[in-house]
């Protein structure tokens, strides 16, 4: 099993395109940091206009913690694509190259192969999120310094003391890993159906985009289905920056994401076990 996992990880990290994801994460992070360095005050003044009317807020508002939050908010929309680049390629890519049949000739069950592919995609996801955490948090703190963090919600202004922030980021990144693992499992399922990796990657992004729109539309028609969409729960990491932290709601979101992940993985194994491998 370990040997199989090693091989899968070797396949992932041998390919140059895997590192494109890390490059994209770094580039977007630096672009946001640069934008905030040059025009961050205007952005903050605009965002805080409702509060500034009534209160004078002094101090380093535009600090590393706030910048990391903004980066995380924008990157978690792009990261599903980067996860799909690897997970969507794991079965379909091999089918495309013709190595899948060769792999299945080995005395390993198909279920184990799927599980190892999922596990390797999960490890890649963890590394990607850790990289995001390092680049976003470390460089933002380096460039913008520390300070109390503000979180603007549609109906509330939340302030978190700087001594109370880091554990929230730890849990938020852990939750982001869970959310991206759901994407990886979905991408793996789509990958099982395809014979080239472009299809699963595009399909993953299509599903994420459509469901994200549905999750964010404030229309009664979608209110009923919203709680059942995994995209509604993917932003559960934001709950850690609320006060008090809505642990029950975050727990529910985590359960939904785990159920989706298990569901996608089970479906992948069931389908892949019966799949007629022609390439």
């Amino acid at each position: 099993m370990i040997q199989l996992l090693r091989i899968e990880l070797y396949k992932i990290f041998k390919r140059p395109r895997t590192y494109i994801s890390f490059g994209i994460v770094t580039a977007i992070t630096f672009v946001i940091q640069l934008a905030m360095l040059t025009d961050g005050k205007g952005f903050v003044n605009f965002a805080l206009s409702g509060v500034n009317e009534q209160f004078d807020i002094q101090g380093n508002i535009l600090n590393g913690y706030l910048i990391t939050y903004i980066i995380l908010q924008s990157l978690l929309i792009h990261i599903p694509l980067l996860v799909a680049l690897v997970a969507g390629d794991s079965l379909a890519g091999e089918a495309n190259l013709g190595t899948l049949r060769l792999l299945l000739t080995k005395p390993i069950s198909r279920a184990k192969i799927v599980l190892m592919k999922f596990l390797s995609s999960f490890i890649y996801t963890v590394i990607l999120i850790v990289w995001l955490a390092v680049v976003a948090l470390f460089f933002s703190l380096l460039l913008f310094g520390k300070g109390d963090m503000i979180n603007l919600k549609s109906d509330a202004f939340v302030m978190i003391l700087q001594s109370d922030v880091m554990w929230r980021y730890g849990l938020a990144f852990a939750f982001a890993v869970l959310a991206m693992t759901t994407i990886a499992s979905m991408s793996l399922l789509l990958s099982a159906y395809a014979d080239n990796s472009i299809g699963p990657i595009i399909a993953t992004m299509g599903i994420v985009v459509v469901l994200t729109i549905l999750s964010n539309l404030e229309l009664p028609l979608f209110t009923v289905i919203k709680p059942y969409l995994f995209t509604t729960h993917m932003i559960g990491w934001k709950g850690f920056f609320d006060d008090p932290v809505p642990y029950a709601a975050i727990g529910r979101s985590a359960i939904v994401l785990v159920l989706y992940t298990v569901g996608f993985l089970t479906a992948t194994i069931l389908y892949f076990n019966k799949k007629d491998i022609k390439s």
Binding site: G147, D155, M159, L161, Q162
Partner: protein, 233 residues
């Protein structure tokens, strides 16, 4: 004879009310002079902001004040929040400056304590303060409560509790009740996590929702140390 007695009663009543009004005016001016003896102070404070749309932890910091209206909260690297300058957190800014008309509203009992209630109207029409009601502890010459109606910032009520710094009329604890406007950002911008639990703002959509409370506990004062304007930059 009955006519003369009636006239005497009227004269006496008028005399008493004029005398009380003079007395109240004198009391107010004496109180104001006492309050204004504090030119500046530095104080270690604990601040609690309770506004329906705000979730702010208890803030600890150093509050700098310089008469007449300079104020700054320093939080040693953290963010500081104060109401806009014209709603100052000090009593000297909630009672009108300059010439005023004082109306005596008599004695009232507040929390078992007899207080003198006076209404103060500034004579300057351009003053931001329209009217102030001050509850005065005559024995100690302290303003225990002030209710100030301003032109631009609604009504501000300040409750003061005194202890160690009674000689300077500086409180140990101040509670300010102020009007706050509603706060709203589009959900499309904030992309809220819908946690299905009502937020504080939603829970408080009652009559209290438009009122904010700021509670400041003064732990230690350094009074009239000659603070310069540089401390407020």
């Amino acid at each position: 004879m009955r006519k003369y007695i009636g006239l005497l009663i009227v004269i006496l009543t008028l005399n008493v009310s004029v005398s009380r009004a003079d007395d109240a005016t004198k009391l107010f001016y004496t109180l104001r002079s006492k309050i204004l003896t504090v030119k500046d102070y530095t104080a270690d404070v604990n601040m609690k902001i309770d506004v329906s749309f705000m979730r702010i932890p208890k803030l600890r910091g150093t509050l700098y004040f310089k008469s007449p209206n300079k104020m700054r909260l320093e939080r040693h690297g953290g963010l500081s929040m104060l109401p806009k300058k014209n709603i100052n957190l000090t009593i000297s800014n909630l009672i009108p400056a300059g010439a005023v008309t004082v109306i005596d509203l008599g004695n009232v009992m507040v929390k078992g304590k007899k207080l003198r209630l006076v209404k103060v109207i500034p004579e300057d029409d351009n003053n931001n303060i329209v009217l102030t009601k001050v509850w005065i502890d005559e024995a100690n010459l302290l303003a225990v409560r002030a209710e100030t109606t301003t032109r631009n910032d609604g009504t501000v009520i300040m409750d003061l509790e005194f202890g160690n710094y009674i000689t300077y009329a500086l409180p140990d604890k101040v509670t300010i009740y102020m009007d706050v406007k509603d706060y709203k950002l589009p959900k499309g911008v904030t992309m809220d996590y819908n946690n299905e639990t009502p937020t504080v703002a939603v829970k408080d959509k009652t009559a209290k929702a438009q009122k904010g409370t700021i509670e400041i506990s003064y732990l230690k004062y350094a009074i009239n140390t000659g603070l310069t304007d540089a401390a407020f930059n």
